[in-house]
Amino acid sequence: MSVFSDYKNELMDAAHNERIRLALSRAIKSYRANTNEALRKFPHTIKLAEEVREIKSRAIGEMEKLAQQACEAFEFNKGKAYIARTTADVLSIIDKLVGTGKLIVKGKSMTCEEIDLREHLEHRGNEVFETDLGEFICQKLPSRPMHILSPAIHVPKEDVARLFSRITGEELPADISILVDTARKLLREKYFQADIGMSGANVVAADTGTLFIIENEGNVRLSTGAPRVHIALVGMEKLVPTLMDAYKVAEVTWRYANYTVPSYVSLVSGPSKTGDIEKVTTYGAHGPKELHVIFFDGGRTELAKHPILRQALFCLRCGGCLYECPVYAVTAGHFGDKYFAGCGTVWAATISHKTEKAAALAYTCLTCGRCKVRCPMQIDSPAMCVEVRKMIAEGYIPPPED
């Protein structure tokens, strides 16, 4: 069986899965209603998105410089910062920091997903808890995340109730508030027992060295606030020059992710510190004593040179496009690899170097273009998919690294 056959089988299984369709139709309806309401309430977002597109377009061209600058800023703030070129580089840095036999609480991060970090850490004898509810559900099912923001988008509440009943040994109803409360109880103590907290970041200000982490559940605040060590893994495309740029990116991101405003935005610039006794700065007050920020290249600086495909690096990961994709509506993240739909196709082709998978994904795009209408960065996914088709047909896809 070829990669294409396997993929097509998977896609068709998903398309015939009533659970996926039920969950997705609920999600699409609520996404559209919430986003339209958020944009109606804050109409300046549309202009702001244009400004952010300019910011991202410039920043993608100077990722290398911004990464250097951000590293200096984090070091100045008494954090540690690293630039990792390959997945192997990331894992070697993290292995040195984590070691083995540790308890780790983790916020949701697509970059961690990209390199299968959780599986790697578990394999090395660590216990890892995904703390984002959707990601927690995916970890326990197990299932791979099917949406960049809402990883368990494909799982209806009835299935979550069955899963949580199995974990707790109690018969739980398909009542969302009871299920949320159950997750809270299951994870509560882990934050305080954990040795290490891990996160990604939605955007990073290079000038001040500040991570912006957008969330609603509060799990990221606990994961990055309670343990003694915070490790953040960030794709280099998340860098922008200034704190104000980062703020603008963050606001556009959450608005198109269907929020008027999220419950929490954590700005993390260094380890926890206090000067309250004799004005002597001492690190590791209530929060982490150590902050480690790893900037991951993994093919991004190369991708940035491509005139059409570089758009994939503008992606804010709001996930709006997915709700407008007719194929995604019936197959969820099965139309994807590490990332989904158009950007997922580019990622598979140029970052993960999975040529056959990329081909299968590229030909799954209807080229209907509704994703582009939704995208705050106006990323032209059909054009990117057609370009990937061309690169494959003409043999421009480079071979896998190492």
């Binding site: 040529t355 081909a359 030909y363 795009c365 209807l366 273009g369 509704r370 209408v373 088709r389 047909a393």
Partner: protein
């Protein structure tokens, strides 16, 4: 050195037809132009009507699709898209024969939108010709398949043919052909100076003050073809036309209209690679349109018509008709 084996063969099959036979279906020269017999259209004209493959070969495409879908559902389905030709052989299916049989029955009904469009343009007093069996395939599918250098070559050839016939303006009716002739070709041909307009633009510009009346009172919903609405940006002209027709009440979905319209599931060759999934998407879109409460679905693309008819059939909805905008205008003009 490319990876052409990674292109799904359903698509390479169509691509070969374009490059070797100059039409999507690989049928004989002249077969597609039969619809225009009796319309007395001149071949020589500065302005030509570009009919495209879609409507001309609609019935052949439809039987090709039902064939592909049948195979796609069968046990051997998964390798299907990777090797259309070999399965046609293994299952003893003579695709070419099927087309021939369909051809002999005639595809007049499917080509009806073209006849209507010509009558509408005549009524509007527009002077134009039709290249008939000399009309080249625009080759747009080559671009979408990823065969850009083949497309570029083809585009230069097509452009040369049109220029040799002294064509200056094109009124094109298939949305994707229109985008190809107007936009994609410009990127591949130096000094491209053909003026390309879509049929609905020409109609919208020329109908003011005319008496347009549909034969009956009817609630109509309009399905925007992707290429027409999002590629060519034609949101208003079809609506302006429908609203100008007495007897038609336009009712639309709250969200999935205009630039937010849902794709019918047939686009960019998708239907040839994922025929079964394409049908699921056709059903989904048909459902959205049925839910508006319309009695008539109007659209403006041969692919969409085929998909929506399939969708309605699967939904077992048989009291809603699908018509092309050109047909509706012709009916409203009484031509």
């Amino acid at each position: 050195m490319g990876n052409k084996e990674l292109i799904p063969p359903g698509l390479t099959y169509l691509a070969d037809n374009i490059t070797s036979k100059h039409n999507l279906l690989g049928t004989g020269k002249g077969a597609g132009a039969r619809w225009a017999k009796g319309l007395n259209l001149p071949r020589e004209s500065e302005t030509i009507f570009f009919a495209g493959c879609g409507y001309q070969y609609a019935s052949e495409l439809e039987s090709l699709m039902s064939l592909i879908r049948r195979i796609d559902r069968s046990a051997v389905s998964t390798e299907m898209a990777m090797s259309v030709a070999s399965f046609q052989k293994r299952l003893g299916i003579d695709a070419a024969g099927i087309y021939r049989r369909v051809m002999s029955r005639g595809g007049e009904e499917d080509a009806q939108p073209l006849v209507s469009a010509v009558k509408v343009l005549n009524k509007l007093g527009i002077k134009f010709g039709y290249l008939a069996d000399d009309e080249p395939c625009c080759g747009g599918l080559l671009h979408y398949i990823g065969l850009q250098s083949e497309f570029a070559k083809h585009a230069q050839d097509v452009y040369g043919q049109l220029k040799a016939r002294k064509v200056k303006q094109i009124i094109s009716i298939v949305p994707s052909c229109t985008y190809t002739l107007r936009n994609l070709m410009t990127q591949s041909v130096n000094g491209h100076d053909l003026e390309v307009k879509h049929f609905c633009q020409v109609v919208a510009e020329n109908i003011s003050g005319r008496e347009l009346s549909f034969p009956r009172q009817v609630k109509v919903t309009y399905h925007d073809p992707c290429q027409l609405v999002r590629y060519l940006g034609l949101v208003e002209p079809p609506r302006q036309i429908l609203k100008a027709i007495k007897g038609i009440k336009l009712i639309e979905a709250d969200w999935t209209k205009g630039e937010w319209a849902t794709c019918c599931g047939g686009g960019g060759g998708f239907e040839a690679v994922f025929p079964e999934l394409s049908q699921i998407l056709a059903v989904n879109r048909a459902k959205e349109l049925v839910d508006t409460g319309a009695e008539l679905i109007v659209t403006h693309c041969p692919g969409c018509i085929m998909q929506l008819k399939t969708g309605l059939k699967e939904l077992k909805v048989n009291n809603i008709q699908v018509l092309d905008l050109a047909q509706v205008v012709a009916m409203a003009m009484g031509v």
